[in-house]
Symmetry: C2
Subunit: 530 residues, 2 copies
């Protein structure tokens, strides 16, 4: 009852609604909302006065929450949800369905779950199925091993906060194999509820003002907005370094140097985030580039955050995934002593199990006293979801040659990855055929991030509507085609350039239709504003 009832006792001053940046969530029932965008940085919040009887208002809300943004689930996506509801109610639109190309949500876009993963989950959830002869023996063996690692043999009991020991050991073996035999200590593998959970838990260790300066964290531009959102929440300084679009979104050390030198004036740089393969940019870093970054980080005394959740998603000929850990260890001293956290997730790769929230951080060379504090800090949240941990186990300990599930598993895994490879190529090529578009090859990950030009009339119209030009374009696309993308400003881009991120995840037939509709829209848009 409350939110509707409440509104009759509450009046807000009519504020200009910025539909681009405003978080006027439909569930907040018609509130007029201030823009929380970077430019306002909370400074305008004091303009908001409500007649509310509430004690917690925008005036005294956590200011870091106010400035935080997360574009992947931002206002465009909220509008997409509204449109879906309108379609359900029979509202006529120039399209029949919303295509959510805004988020790397594989199963939502029709990808079929891997049988082996789901069979193991069914068995650990409901162990009487261990007696069901229709389940393969290797599935049963995996389920029994996981259950043996659970207290009381139940996935319903708490695990140690860093996760179940046997799963951490499987993860360590997986990492060793991935890195060609470089040892991995299972005690450095900390399981988590998706990579996001792990990233925030390591990041928050660095919150410490020294000499009156905020801690700074180097983050690529464009970047995955979890980083900007978390840095905002933690009141840390975001040091943006631009990826070089003209060099396939590579990292240029002179740009790293420029950004850190500038940032030192106002912050105390402590860490660098590298996303490889890149999100939203799809590049796969060369080994040489990784070495340069490690040398730079060593020189500047930075903690390395290697966001490697797309390590299975490498498509381009000649591209290969090198983990930061492998490169760093192989470079030898002093680099091999550097602090590094590498993050992995069940949500991406060939499995795409976003909803199950499995992942880990491998943290090496952390000061043992700090590590003890890290383990203490995660203990108050008890443990990551055990079924998410079980999911991770199936990924780091997949069926082996000769086991009954092997053939099907490999067929399904290859099927997903080969299809993604085709789609990666198709998306980049198609965008490059659009007037004014320029798209780097999608070497890896699950996204294209094309640059596009806009006619000056469109830019003017965007200004009139109080929207960034790329946001305006994305809203037009959504309202006219049902295609939901994320404007480049949600990830960061060189001033004066316009981009957007789209996933390559719609299944091939649907992707073709989407790209055709997109092209038609773009042509019409250019005619209208050209």
């Amino acid at each position: 009852m409350s939110s509707t009832r409440l509104l009759s006792f509450r009046r807000c001053l009519p504020l200009r609604r910025s539909s681009a940046a405003g978080w006027n969530h439909p569930e907040s029932a018609g509130a007029q909302l201030q823009s929380p965008s970077g430019s306002s940085r909370g400074s305008r919040c004091t303009l908001v006065r409500t007649m509310s009887s509430a004690n917690l208002t925008l005036d005294n809300l956590n200011p870091q929450i106010k400035v935080m943004e997360y574009a992947v689930r931002g206002p465009l996506v909220i509008r997409a949800g509204e449109i879906e509801k309108e379609l359900e109610k029979g509202v006529k639109k120039p399209f029949n369905e919303v295509i959510k190309a805004n988020i790397g949500d594989c199963h939502a876009m029709g990808q079929v779950p891997i049988t082996f993963i789901r069979q193991v989950l069914a068995l650990v959830s409901y162990p009487p199925l261990l007696d069901d002869p229709t389940f393969p023996e290797d599935v049963k063996e995996r389920a029994k091993t996981i259950l043996k690692g659970c207290r009381g043999s139940s996935v319903g009991s708490y695990t140690d906060s860093p996760g179940i020991e046997v799963i951490r050991k499987h993860a360590a073996q997986y990492i060793e194999k991935r890195d060609g035999g470089i040892p991995c200590d299972w005690q450095n593998v900390i399981l988590s509820a998706g990579a996001s959970d792990a990233i925030k838990n390591v990041l928050k260790l660095l919150i410490c003002n020294v000499g009156g300066k905020k801690p700074g964290v180097m983050v690529p531009i464009p970047q995955y907005p979890l980083y900007s959102a978390s840095l905002a929440e933690f009141n840390m300084h975001q040091i943006g370094y631009f990826l070089d679009e003209s060099k396939g979104w590579g990292l240029d050390v002179s740009e790293l140097q420029r950004s850190i030198d500038e940032a030192r004036k106002v912050s105390n740089p402590r860490a660098i985030v590298i996303i490889n393969p890149g999100n939203p940019t799809g590049q796969v870093l060369s080994r040489q580039n990784i070495e340069e970054i490690i040398k730079f980080a060593y020189k500047e005394k930075l903690f390395l955050f290697a966001d490697e959740v797309y390590q299975d998603n490498v498509y381009a000929e000649g591209s290969q995934f090198y983990s930061f850990k492998k490169v760093l260890i192989e470079m030898g001293k002093p680099y091999s002593d550097m602090e590094l956290a590498s993050f992995m997730s069940c949500s991406k790769g060939y499995m795409g199990e976003c909803g199950l929230r499995g992942g880990y951080a491998e943290v090496i060379n952390m000061d043992p006293q700090v590590k003890a504090m890290y383990l203490k800090a995660i203990s108050a949240m008890l443990c990551p979801t055990v079924l998410g941990q079980a999911t991770l186990d199936t990924i780091v300990h997949p069926p082996q040659k000769g086991e009954p599930s092997y053939e099907l598993f490999m067929k399904e895994k290859r099927g997903v990855l080969e299809s993604l490879k085709l789609r990666a190529k198709m998306v980049a090529e198609t965008f490059n055929s659009f007037e004014g578009f320029k798209c780097n090859p999608v070497q890896g990950a699950m996204y294209a991030f094309p640059q596009f030009t806009l006619p000056s009339k469109a830019v003017e119209e965007a200004k009139k509507q109080n929207k960034a030009p790329d946001v305006f374009y994305a809203f037009e696309l959504l309202e006219n085609t049902g295609i939901c993308i994320v404007p480049g400003s949600g990830f960061g881009q060189q001033p004066g350039t316009y981009h957007f991120r789209t996933t390559i995840l719609p299944q091939t037939d649907k992707l073709k239709v989407m790209l055709d509709k997109f092209k038609e829209f773009h042509t019409t848009f250019l005619k209208k504003y050209g």
Copy 2:
């Protein structure tokens, strides 16, 4: 490799190890660790100088992480884990197993999962089982409804950040029924990864220094240490109000007033946490007591946090659970307009599904602009585990009379709750038979929190060992009997008094053995130090 390799390049000054308060986690491989206990409050951290090549050290670690403590998983529990490993290796001890009475971990202590819950989980995890004739029809219907609420009909897709709509609607219906028909708007129900996740997400909204004063949150003493840990992490001021042990751990308004008046000098009190039924104290608040608290909170303009995760766990004759929402709404204006967040979990009750991480917050009367910010803030973490959400669905939408799973479900549910009721009685009565023990009745929840006296020689010995007396007692108990409890100082207690928390969760036979061993230990302890 890294943590062992690492140690050879790292030397720490030998520091006195406080095994009670020190977080010398076995996984941090022998590091000498400073005490992060309240008394040091990080102030001694600058004493620590390592020869480490690490950039992140105790010197520049997040100071809030340093002061944070979480006793339920603290040093005693770490030692218990070590002892388990020693037993595995064949080390001789005066006991054969560790009894983990430190944590409300039902399945770990032998409670059997509810069939209905696990069957639904198996089906949503592996939908081909929907064709298996051995699963009841209502299980299939539930699974289909959940899958319909998932994008792409897969629990592997992301959901909306506040959870799947149909599950939120089921939760709202559950709340309405619980509260005798008082309406619940499903849009006020925000699903979460256990209650802890929800509590932290609401709590962090209140982080805002006003007039140079930290935000203060009133928390009972004794309290569940998630609150002290989160307040430490968020750098908020913990306002402790003492529960009245002599009145069955009830809340006394004059004590609330005393604590807030004192706290106003140094902080800006913004919220009050009430845990009902109580953890670790086991009391169930009377309706009259709840009304008094609500009036107090209204007068002092406090946001109400009702931690009601034990709402199904009420055992004592004459005790009844009243939700804060029900009482507040029935009190009428102005109280019915107050801001309230009520928290629920899948981890407790009759289900005890701790590892699955399901829960929700019902948040009423929140300013709509603040609510929009709250929803934005949780969006960066994408969504709570979908299988945790599915678990919650089974709890808020259980089998109904006439459905095929009903009889078994009710039998299993009653079985757990009736057994807990017997054990609650047995534990309190047994402790009251110990010399120097005094234990209030366990009216609800899953814990007893007896007070005990210690001979002065024992107190002296504890001081010699640099341990709080109750911590010393708990370590002695652990080393001599394998029983792991949590000392009262982990929850807070009146100065000069000693308590501990034990769960009532060991199955009845085991619980009897545990209590017998405990009594024998206590008698011997008194002889030794008496």
